[in-house]
Symmetry: C2
Subunit: 631 residues, 2 copies
């Protein structure tokens, strides 16, 4: 996790270097400051400039590094892009574009935009913003959104603590009757309408204004699925502790901890109400940050992969590399479970004869080691076979046989589906599972290898199940969109989901068991799952997980509710949707999923639609046109 960023939201300051010095003295990292003086009102000729004096302070007051590292530009709040009179609207557009152009010129990382009016009343705001988003190259646009709608008039808007800005407050949109009504609307709806009209633009972010009243945990969770880049924390929401220092309520503390995990920048706003300095507030945020639990091994391992899309492995078609084996061999939890499962299974084999264990897909031998340890624990004499198709891994296995004296182990360089032998094993051990359980073709491989087992033989694993949940994540949707092709939207990705919101708990999708003697084998599947949206949200795709029974009560799981502690071999899988779909709170989300096969290939098709039938969504990946797994 990166260092905590705490900045200050300031009124317009002429002497920016002096302000930054003070801010740095109080241990803050930068400021969010107005780009132009709020009294500098421009008419609709705003840009054809006939004035003699400069329109704002010079860019030379800081070098470009200073602007980039320490300043976010606040766009004038008084402009009204959705005013009823055209003259006011056109003038506001000129002001907006002039300020955005100036911000780009300065190379500040972002502009902080005023809170839009509610959805239906902000179409021109959305249009002007969408134009700017499309033109700007590096600049980010942060839209100020209240966490909870204000019940009262906005007497505490932070800018009003500035006497100069106060002059303009009379004109501010927040004060009108219309807006008092509007303030009761869910602010998320305002955001959702705006960003949907801007097609989920990747440079568009939320600056969340933390309010004294907090919404439900579910609503907070939904914000954590949104691209929140900044949190504006007014000094008004702080309580005072026994020593007279600022502190936050328990619920606010929890919220901060959640925001810390998402690399959000914090901007303090308003007047200091404790000891007349901002420093105690800054120190308090750093104190909360320091209370975060220190990172365990799994968290450290996962950190660089958060929300990073990877193509799923195709270990059947491609040979894994040494490095990949090396990474997965380090998952102690997983191999401990395998050791337990093999031990239990061996204990069920007769103790008066040699037990035969075949490891199929032995790789560089971690399951062979588990089986050898299990044989000792179960006190069984064993004969083992390690079957591996990757010629490179076979070199490792043969070296191990010598160096680790695997005298009872035979190395077999063959595809498990084609090895013919008269041996019949008591136990067949494999680790062919993917993030979605069956997506690395474990069913087909184990079916092809089950003739190696005698009729009462045991497969470890003996069962695995996939799980699905509809998720909102404009972050992931944009990552897929980078390639902007149907193919990329019809391909699942392995990804450590982080900036996302699940609209409902996961549901079971497909299940497979092994071995399957005396039954017709068919690994095609179909499932229709019906979810109920816990909050209004957008579905950008489906999150996939799996769990597996190795043997008896020994299991592995990456399903969120039952995730095996400390196991890091599998990230979730993400199936994108080409078009995001909006659902109301309580509405039914119908997910259809197929597992299909043909032409030596296996593939999935999927679709998502509202239960009401008001909208019909396309089925993704017909005939595996965009993504398939080779047999």
């Amino acid at each position: 996790m990166s260092r905590l960023f705490v900045g200050l939201e300031t009124p317009f300051v002429q002497d920016l270097p002096a302000t930054l010095n003070k801010v740095h003295e109080e241990k803050m990292n930068g400021v969010a400051a107005p780009l132009f003086h709020p009294r500098f009102q421009r008419d609709d000729d705003g840009l054809s400039d006939t004035r003699d004096g400069p329109q704002t302070r010079s860019d030379l007051v800081l070098d470009s590094r200073g602007w980039t590292a320490s300043v976010v530009g606040v766009v004038s709040k008084w402009m009204d892009l959705d005013a009823t009179t055209q003259r006011v609207r056109l003038s506001a557009e000129k002001v907006f574009k002039q300020e955005v152009a100036w911000a780009s010129h300065l190379s500040v990382p972002a502009v902080l935009l005023p809170t839009p009016r509610h959805a239906e009343q902000s179409s021109n705001y959305a249009r002007v913003l969408n134009q700017s988003l499309t033109q700007a190259q590096y600049l980010q646009f942060w839209v100020r959104i209240l966490l909870t709608p204000r019940q009262q008039s906005c007497a505490k808007a932070p800018m009003e603590t500035d006497p100069v800005a106060g002059l303009c407050a009379a004109a501010a949109v927040m004060e009108t009757e219309e807006n008092k009504h509007e303030a009761l609307v869910d602010p998320w709806e305002t955001w959702d309408s705006l960003r949907a009209r801007c097609e989920y633009h990747p440079k568009l972010f939320v600056a969340l204004e933390i309010t004294a009243d907090l919404p439900s945990a579910e609503v907070v969770q939904r914000w954590l699925g949104e691209p929140v880049k900044a949190a504006i924390v007014s000094t008004d929401i702080f309580l005072t502790n026994r020593k007279g220092y600022p502190a936050l309520s328990q619920r606010h503390q929890k919220l901060m901890a959640q925001l810390f995990q998402h690399k959000v920048q914090f901007y303090l706003s308003g007047r200091p109400r404790h000891r007349e300095k901002m420093l105690p507030y800054v120190q308090y945020l750093h104190f909360l940050y320091s209370k975060l639990p220190s990172q365990d091994r799994k968290t450290q391992f996962e950190a660089p992969y958060l929300d990073y899309l990877q193509a799923p492995l195709q270990p059947l078609m491609d040979n894994l590399e040494s490095q990949t084996y090396e990474t997965f061999e380090q998952d102690t939890f997983k191999y401990n479970q395998y050791e337990k499962a093999i031990t239990k299974a061996l204990e069920h084999t007769p103790d008066d004869k040699e037990s035969v264990v075949v490891v199929v897909g032995a790789g560089r031998g971690p399951l062979v080691r588990c089986a050898l340890r299990a044989a000792t624990l179960a006190n069984r004499k064993t004969r083992m076979f390690a079957v591996e198709k990757n010629a490179n891994a076979v070199i490792t296995l043969r070296n191990l046989k010598i160096s680790e004296k695997w005298d009872n182990v035979t190395i077999v360089a063959s595809d498990m589906r084609s090895w013919r032998t008269k041996e019949r094993a008591d136990i067949m051990v494999s680790e062919l599972l993917g993030s979605f359980g069956d997506n690395e073709l474990s069913p087909e491989c184990l079916d092809g290898a089950q003739s190696l087992l005698h009729e009462n033989g045991i497969s470890i694993p003996c069962e695995y199940t996939s799980y699905v949940a509809p998720v909102m994540s404009s972050k992931l949707w944009n990552e897929v969109k980078v390639h902007d092709s149907v193919k990329s939207f019809e391909t699942p990705y392995v990804v450590r989901l982080h900036n996302f919101y699940a609209l409902a708990p996961t549901q079971r999708c497909f299940q497979f068991t092994h071995p399957k003697f005396n039954t017709r084998i068919d690994n095609r599947r179909q499932a229709e799952l019906r979810f109920v949206a816990a909050e209004s949200a957008v579905v950008h795709g489906l999150a996939g997980y799996f769990d597996a029974v190795l043997y008896g009560d020994v299991t592995l799981s990456i399903e969120p509710d039952t995730h095996s502690d400390g196991m890091f071999s599998w990230f979730p899988i993400y199936f994108p949707l080409r078009q995001p779909l909006r659902f109301q709170k309580g509405e039914e989300v119908v997910v259809d999923f197929w597992r299909l096969e043909g032409n030596s290939r296996v593939w999935y098709e999927w679709s998502v639609a509202p239960g009401s039938g008001t909208c019909h969504a396309p089925i993704h990946n017909p005939n595996g046109r965009s993504y398939w797994i080779g047999l």
Copy 2:
């Protein structure tokens, strides 16, 4: 410049960790070591493995980091991909692919491939290599190429110092009669044929074997335009200094200095002939490295931009950002020249009246400052105008007018082509030149602004000329090819050329002068330039440069032979060719260049062809379809 890498080429070693320890003790960074034992000859069933023992040492002797950081895999030299009998060829192909697969498995950064036979005799080598290049994801392929052809039989091939490898030497291709003949062919031709058949693949590199005899300076220069990744330095080529330590000849020292500039890795090979250790050789190379002149400001500034393609600025259509102004304002040399030129020009204005200076395209004011300093130096009373179309830069100018008391300067927020005034200036100063002189539309802008000058008025600059040379650079060609579109191959790029070879000295292309009163203004141009290739080479594109006369004898130049010392405002410009063209030494390279205009646009078209007319090459960018500059 990154740290010097010195490695050791070793015979096959079973105990790689021990060898690496010794190598690190002798201050070396890694090894180039055979992947398989040279005695491990495989038949054409090489891969369907029925042996019991491992085929080579285990990947587990190092972790994947160790393999990646410290080992380059040497592919067996004895295999003959172009043998006359099919059985030998097929067997060689299996060996080659097995070894490349093993190298990929290990995640070593590169394989070192044996020297191919001469062009016409290595078609199967090229085919097999091309297949591997297309499949491998990260692996680099380094082809071992002699710097000078060996006159004798190859008694000093480094592997033969190894007694085990010696067993195979009898079979080595180098020893046959056929190859003694072949050894007289220019090794560059062998390389050129191979890489052309592999379509200049970006993962294909040269490992240059440094010989005791060195080729001409021109041939060395040509190698510096090739993707040389490694230099193999035999202990045989070292002399002994008076203290008994190894040293290199002056010419070899110069070559090493050139290779250092290109981030080449060095691999020592052969037996130590001085003090029975490799350490003195390593120390000597580090000594040479330390003798490189330390980096001046310009070199440091340029380092991150070597061979990095940038789209040319379009300051007329786009507004420059504050950061861009900031960078260019730091070019002290350039502004000193402007100051000199304005001073001289002012000295030619009458001293009994106020001189009028107009700066067109004033940006954030650096030329205004030059003009103010020049007025003091020339002891002239002046009235100045700073004309700038970028509204953001006008804010800076107006702030400067106040803070720096520019009382005699008027700021004019206008496009220089449309400002109408009754003032007539004595001197018009501008800095509108691009890397190719006219490519940022200086001609059109200054023609449009010249009515601001009175009839004897002076333009600074008063003249500028573009220059062109045909260049070989598979590095740059591949950078363009990443986008793989006609558009990308018909766009010029601003780039600090580094890994390239100019086939001939630059020639003048287009020239422009200002002002142009009493003459028909036409800025269209055509030039046909005829170059003679100094060595056989491939033309991948054209390098463009410019020089300019500011006033009198005060000039600026980025043309290689006359480049102004320490000036860093302009990198060269690179016009790519869609298809690389091969020229023989002494052959004529005909370059046609046009500057054209229409529909408020200016664009270039260009083509390259042999003077013999044996090949007709397409004209690039017809009608400016891929690239144009907006007026």
